[in-house]
Symmetry: C2
Subunit: 364 residues, 2 copies
């Protein structure tokens, strides 16, 4: 993996770059649609690609449990299995254990947990997290981390970042000669000094990129922004910086201004399934009766299949009728909206217009 920065903003830490992988290039800042179980929910791969996605994220936790990393390896790896030929990043499973699994117990060896599918017991160690991701054959792997909950005392946060650093070291060792990239994850809760400590411990090990973890876990939005402002600039400038699990468009623009290059979030896809659609004129709850006879497209400025073809009235009808096609059409739109957002961000940085774009989002 190579990372090249091609443009930097003069008024902020925003930058435009390119990550090159064996499966192609990713223009940054980028948004990674979430394909938890090896599919971006409701869409075919063709549709994901059509919206402009250059990389997707899949979840190690889910794919480790089902169908299993060994089976995916036997079937030729994750790219071949799901027939997605562009880059893939997998998280390490840590966050899903934190949010989904029951009876989890964190020990130095790893995380004991029960599957949310069948209740079976598992130990996810740093070594197993890497083994699974190597078996998937993904372009970017993530270290197993312990996601510090919010709120957490500084003692808890420190314990958690220390464990995360130990695991990160073991992940790096477990990776060995595997040519794919491995990113470290910064923890440290909402404590700037602990974030700094976490970064330092990861830098000592050395990774291909660095992610901010443990954000967007229930803290107030202002606190998240504060932590991004504080922690993002601590990450080395010559490596991709990834803000995990974020976020709404305004959060993304804010983080880009603080030097973040990569994002993933279920917001565009999950909101689409629930009838919440993003437009340049604000959000649309498509189930509302106000759209009963609305002949307009969702967003006049959008070039997606949904906006090119269908009225709000039709999309409302499908949504209130519980049609699965509603979820498909809505997901197409929201995903395209996010992809256009990222395209707009990159163009703005290149043309010196990022401050202006950023102000628009701040005002909204």
């Amino acid at each position: 993996m190579r990372f090249t920065i091609t443009h930097t903003d003069t008024n902020s830490l925003a930058r435009v770059g390119e990550i090159n992988t064996a499966h192609g290039a990713i223009n940054t800042p980028c948004f990674m649609p979430v394909g938890t179980q090896a599919s971006v929910k409701t869409l075919t791969n063709s549709l994901v690609e059509e919206q402009g996605a250059e990389i997707i994220l899949a979840n190690t936790y889910h794919l480790y449990l089902r169908p299993g990393h060994n089976i995916i390896a036997q079937l030729g790896g994750l790219h071949q299995f799901m027939r997605w030929q562009k880059p893939i990043l997998t998280d390490s499973g840590g966050f899903q254990i934190y949010s989904l699994a029951s009876l989890r117990k964190v020990t130095p060896a790893g995380v004991f947990f029960q599957s949310h599918i069948d209740g079976s017991s598992h130990l996810l160690s740093p070594e197993l997290a890497i083994e699974a991701q190597c078996a998937f054959g993904v372009d970017i792997m993530m270290c197993l981390d312990e996601c510090t909950p919010y709120p957490a005392t500084s003692e808890q946060a420190e314990q958690s970042l220390t464990l995360t650093a130990q695991w990160a070291k073991r992940c790096k060792e477990a990776k060995g000669e595997n040519p794919n990239a491995l990113f470290g994850i910064v923890q440290g809760g909402m404590y700037p000094d602990l974030r700094r400590k976490s970064v330092a411990s990861l830098l000592e090990i050395g990774f291909d990129g660095y992610a901010l973890g443990g954000l967007s876990v229930g803290e107030p939005k202002e606190l998240m922004k504060e932590m991004v402002e504080t922690a993002a600039p601590m990450l080395p400038a010559d490596k991709p910086r990834y803000l995990m699990g974020v976020g709404f468009p305004a959060d993304i623009v804010h983080a880009v201004g603080n030097g973040i290059d990569m994002f993933d979030c279920v917001i565009p896809t999950r909101c689409a399934r629930n009838g919440l659609l993003f437009t340049n004129e604000g959000n649309i709850a498509i189930g509302s009766s106000r759209y009963l006879k609305d002949k307009n497209p969702l967003d006049n400025t959008c070039d997606c299949y949904t906006c090119r073809n269908f009225s709000r009235a039709y999309l409302r009808h499908l949504y209130v009728s519980g049609e699965i096609t509603a979820m498909v059409l809505n997901t197409i739109h929201n995903l395209r909206f996010y992809m256009r957002l990222m395209e707009g961000i990159r163009t703005a940085i290149k043309t010196g217009a990022f401050a202006e774009l950023s102000n628009k989002f701040t005002q909204k």
Copy 2:
């Protein structure tokens, strides 16, 4: 609407033809994917068209209740509303009242029923059924009929066909100068003489096409086939003959051999959502663990997006994981399977190979 027969089979009543409508041509024998609520479940229109569909069926009952025919008319008619530019046929609503609505009461005036959505009370009269379908602006409308249940005594069946004939007359009158086509529906239960009587009463009124209703309503398969063999040849040869709500591939091949030109059925789409997939080598229950590591496509001979790209192992994974994308990919395949079936039937009739094709299905 014009109907031209271009080929007739020498060994059976099968024929190839073309129905020409204001929205384009339909090659017959044809299969109409069901788009109950103005969308073929799980698919975008592009995907429906890509599978080869030349006409779809929508349900008057559903669209009358939601969003309402007046709203669809205000939005430019059903083609414009759902952005499907090829022909559309709507049923009259009679069958859905029979199968979905509660507290229905059939009177000479029409059918009183309560909506399955909100319990509201409605009277669907022959005039209203036509008013709604005219408002939709569909290419082919169907007369309101009373679907005779199975089993029914000959008295019940006769009563039902008499009412259906009276309603058919009122439908024809209600249509007035509307240029779109109107088909009559033959009832008569499982009684050949009553089927003959029903046909005679419809012929007296005169329609653009004739449908066999009241089949595939719970009767044994052999009885359905017997009734198709008996009743299909009673329908005038120079008009399209439509067997409503049928069926499995073998049922379709059998009915084509008895002179049927048009079919609709939820089987390909519903089975797809439930993981039952059709192939030339037999059906596949994709959830089965036997496909866990199966690298083969569903059907080696199929040219659909799903078969061109994905393994059974991947499709099984998506299905058992409850991914909506599984429903989309499965529906693409099953619909394409049906479209290829119809293409194969038409080619076989044209090339004198229909008897051979028919034998294959009989042996299966």
